[in-house]
């Protein structure tokens, strides 16, 4: 059995057992991974021998502490990679997830660790309250008249009001007009909303196609 198959299974088991109180079943696994139950059953018994998991009655599967450790590690790698691919490189979420599925098995712990630390920087920037130039474009980087799509919103002290007004990831916005200080009016869900430059700088966007 290949390591990648083993890791995929452990990862899936970890994720499934987070969402429900009782251990996942083989059919849950086959839904999650889109594999046939027979194929999975074969792998599972090998893995039981290796000490990764225990097969319980009613086709339920429980991870051993070791299996759960590895599974969580893989899941974490997947998240970081997916996030990097979609948020920073701008890949579509679905493709980013598929790509992350392949990369997660080969990336070294150190590379992942560094990537993770790199990724958590944009958030910390706000906590320090400084307006460092970020690698991601915000509303401030586009001229009036642009049609844009929100990719993420990160502001200090929460930005509930923005979410309530419809400024959520994936939403189309049009930049209607800007002033000299970069205060701007954006058009969202049929409303014109005026925002200060410091608010605009927390709304990350990309051009809408």
């Amino acid at each position: 059995m290949k390591t990648s198959a083993r890791e995929d299974l452990l990862e899936a088991l970890c994720i499934l057992s987070r969402t429900k109180p009782e251990p996942p079943t083989i059919s849950d696994l086959s839904d999650h991974l889109s594999r046939t139950p027979e194929e999975i059953r074969g792998h599972l018994s090998t893995m039981q021998d290796q000490g990764d998991l225990r097969l319980l009655s009613g086709d339920r599967v429980e991870l051993t502490p070791e299996g759960s450790r590895i599974g969580n590690q893989v899941a974490k790698k997947h998240q970081v990679l997916e996030c990097f691919l979609s948020d920073i490189l701008g890949m579509d979420r679905g493709t980013a997830s598929e790509e992350a599925c392949i990369l997660e098995h080969d990336i070294s712990d150190e590379a992942l660790d560094r990537l993770d630390r790199y990724m958590s920087r944009p958030g910390k920037r706000w906590r320090r309250g400084k307006h460092e130039k970020s690698s991601l474009p915000t509303l401030l980087d586009y001229p009036a008249g642009s049609d844009l799509k929100v990719s993420s919103v990160k502001c200090p002290g929460g930005c509930q009001r923005l979410f309530d007004m419809g400024i959520v990831p994936g939403e189309q916005v049009r930049l209607v007009t800007t002033l000299d200080n970069k205060a701007m009016v954006i058009h969202v869900k049929g409303f014109d909303i005026a925002i200060s430059p410091e608010i605009a700088s927390c709304i990350f966007v990309e051009r809408a196609e």
């Binding site: 109180p21 929460g158 979410f163 309530d164 007004m165 959520v168 990831p169 002033l179 205060a183």
Partner: protein
């Protein structure tokens, strides 16, 4: 039985409230007009009902004061039935709030307001379909024309239902709701509130602490953001199903002129200045006319009557109070409110706020802070109430200082009534310039020394509309009525007391004591300083008292022009009136109120003394 009006800001809740109860509440074309609960009674088929107008909100899960107020109102079961007011021209965003409201499981009906404009924009909404999706009755209404307004109460009384519509959340959120519920008995609403950090039950909250970070990590988004996204998604789907054309408003050329970076600021300054000048010109024209007529028809004949000195003194005080109140105050207050109402109803106020964002940042606030400042020109009391909408304490503290310094219409009465009339328009405008300069200076200093954080502006621009003359007149009338029925009786009473005191020689005693101070510091006669003190009760009273104590409305015959000017400057700057102090204490607390009062007191005396030194 009690009914509550709930909805987004600026959707017409207060107008519907007014139409149903006949009570004159503020109806203005900008978000955040209503900031407090307003209750009113109405009778339906001999049954007494209570209707509550609530502040407009964007969310039932936020933590801004008005959102907390409405949430508590709904959760504490304060109303048996809720009337959800939706704006037909912005159905999608309004459905977002409706979906939240539905989760509270209260019986309600939906009112689809502003149908007249929706029709004009070519938006057609299938109300029957909307009603079946939401699971409650939907009434299309146009509150301005009164269309279907009469249907609202019978529907709310007899056909209110608990909405059937539900938002399908992301499967991680749904799973979290289920696991909260499996461990601990909680409703879907309680679980959702706990997930968004506003739960009240400690046990559910601690469960969320365990579940939350993992979900947020997986989505790289906060739970609040995930939930908001799901709700918007559902709202969009429903809006798509029921409306033929969502008529995405084509860019309006007038609007782009008003908000453009070149012409916008020029237009803003021009509008504000021309309002000020027109108020002075129109007001003083009416004033001269009224005062002249009053003098000729009432005061002169009265003076000619052979009367006992006591009655003569009392009668004269009474007539002078009437003359000053009706002849001087009324024309200015009315003209002022007339123009302010036009600003409010046209939707321009929110655009002015946007344009002023940069300047307001210098003063330690942001664009939204301009709205209370402009409203303050009308009356400081509602303006101070309005600063509750600013989101941080720092902004509220700064705004409370600045708004209290804005010359309200009562202070305009003094400036226009004596300075513009006796000295001239440039002199009157110079008082505004001085005040404005001091407001800016104060803001610059406060923005440096006030502790706390600052967030920027997030302000929805109200639609541009041609103001309805009826609404403007009735609004001005409601505000004037307050003056006529509350201030005038007070003024008349006070003038009688003043007349008596003067007759008894009390004032000469007081004035003997105050005169040396008054003359040394401000260069004013003792009675003028006494009048300034009365201005604390109500600002116009400074003028009225001055007229009574001086014994004539023709002030230049007893005071020099420099004295008139100083009197006006000091009364404009000097301590806000009692009612303003009252709301200040409610909104920002006793300590800040005391600071504001002390600051303005010192500022008024200081500037008065400086002018006295310079001019004399």
């Amino acid at each position: 039985m009690r009914l509550g009006l709930v909805g987004n800001p600026n959707v017409g809740k207060s107008l519907i409230f007014h139409q149903l109860t006949g009570i004159g509440v503020e109806v203005s074309n900008y978000p955040g007009t209503t900031v407090d609960l307003m209750k009113g009674n109405l009778c339906f088929k001999h049954e007494k009902l209570e209707l509550v107008d609530l502040p407009g909100i964007y969310s039932l899960e936020g933590n801004s004061p008005e959102e907390v107020m409405v949430r508590t109102f709904i959760q504490e079961k304060e109303a048996e039935v809720l009337i959800a007011v939706l704006d037909a021209t912005h159905l999608e965003r309004n459905l977002y709030l409706f979906l939240q409201l539905a989760e509270f499981g209260k019986p309600l009906i939906a009112v689809l307001n502003i149908m007249d404009e929706a029709a004009k924009q070519g938006i057609e909404i299938d109300t029957a379909k909307l009603s079946s999706i939401l699971g409650v009755e939907v009434i299309p209404v146009a509150a301005v024309t009164g269309m279907n307004v009469a249907e609202i109460i019978p529907a709310a009384l007899f056909r209110a239902r608990i909405p059937a519509v539900q938002v399908p959340y992301d499967h991680h959120i749904e799973a979290a709701i289920r696991s909260i519920q499996s461990v601990h008995p909680a409703t879907r609403l309680q679980a959702l509130q706990a997930l968004q950090g506003i739960g009240t039950d400690p046990e559910t909250n601690s469960l969320v602490e365990a579940l939350g970070p993992e979900i947020e990590e997986m989505h790289r988004m906060t739970i609040v953001q995930i939930i908001a996204g799901n709700r918007h998604h559902r709202a969009e789907a429903i809006a798509d199903l029921v409306s033929s054309d969502r008529g995405d408003a084509h860019p309006d050329s007038l609007d782009s002129l008003l908000t453009s970076r070149r012409s916008g600021p020029i237009i803003l300054v021009a509008i504000l200045l021309s309002i000020l000048v027109s108020v002075f010109l129109i007001g003083s024209f009416i004033e001269e006319f009224l005062v002249g007529v009053f003098e000729m028809l009432v005061i002169s004949p009265f003076s000619a009557l052979p009367l006992d000195p006591l009655f003569r003194q009392l009668g004269l005080s009474l007539l002078l109070a009437l003359q000053a109140g009706l002849g001087i105050a009324l024309p200015f207050i009315f003209t002022f409110y007339f123009f302010i109402s036009i600003l409010e109803d046209s939707g321009y106020l929110t655009r002015a706020a946007f344009l002023a964002d940069r300047a307001m940042h210098r003063l330690g606030m942001h664009g939204q802070g301009l709205v209370p400042l402009i409203l303050g020109f009308g009356c400081n009391v509602p303006a101070i109430m309005g600063i509750r909408l600013l989101r941080t304490r720092r902004e509220r503290v700064i705004a409370s200082f600045l708004v209290s310094m804005v010359p309200c219409s009562a202070r305009t009465v003094i400036v226009a009534g004596i300075v513009a009339v006796f000295i001239g328009l440039p002199a009157a405008l110079s008082i505004y310039a001085i005040t404005l300069g001091l407001v800016i200076l104060t803001g610059l200093v406060l923005s440096r020394i006030t502790p706390g954080e600052q967030y920027g502006m997030i302000l929805e621009l109200a639609p541009l509309r041609v103001p309805r003359i009826g609404n403007i007149l009735s609004k001005s009338w409601y505000r004037i009525r307050e003056f006529l029925f509350i201030a005038m009786p007070l003024l008349i009473l006070a003038s009688l007391v003043l007349g008596l005191l003067q007759y008894a020689g009390f004032f000469s005693l007081f004035q003997q004591w105050i005169t040396p101070w008054s003359e040394a510091v401000l260069g004013l006669p003792g009675y003028a300083t006494t009048a300034l003190l009365f201005g604390i009760l109500r600002k116009e009273m400074a003028l009225e008292t001055l007229v009574i104590l001086a014994g004539t409305a023709d002030l230049p015959s007893v005071m020099s022009l420099a004295q008139i000017y100083i009197f006006a400057v000091v009364s404009v700057l000097f301590i806000p009136c009692i009612s303003t102090i009252g709301v200040l204490a409610k909104v920002v607390g006793a300590r800040i109120t005391l600071l504001v009062s002390l600051y303005t007191l010192i500022l008024g005396l200081l500037i008065g003394a400086i002018i006295n030194l310079v001019i004399v």
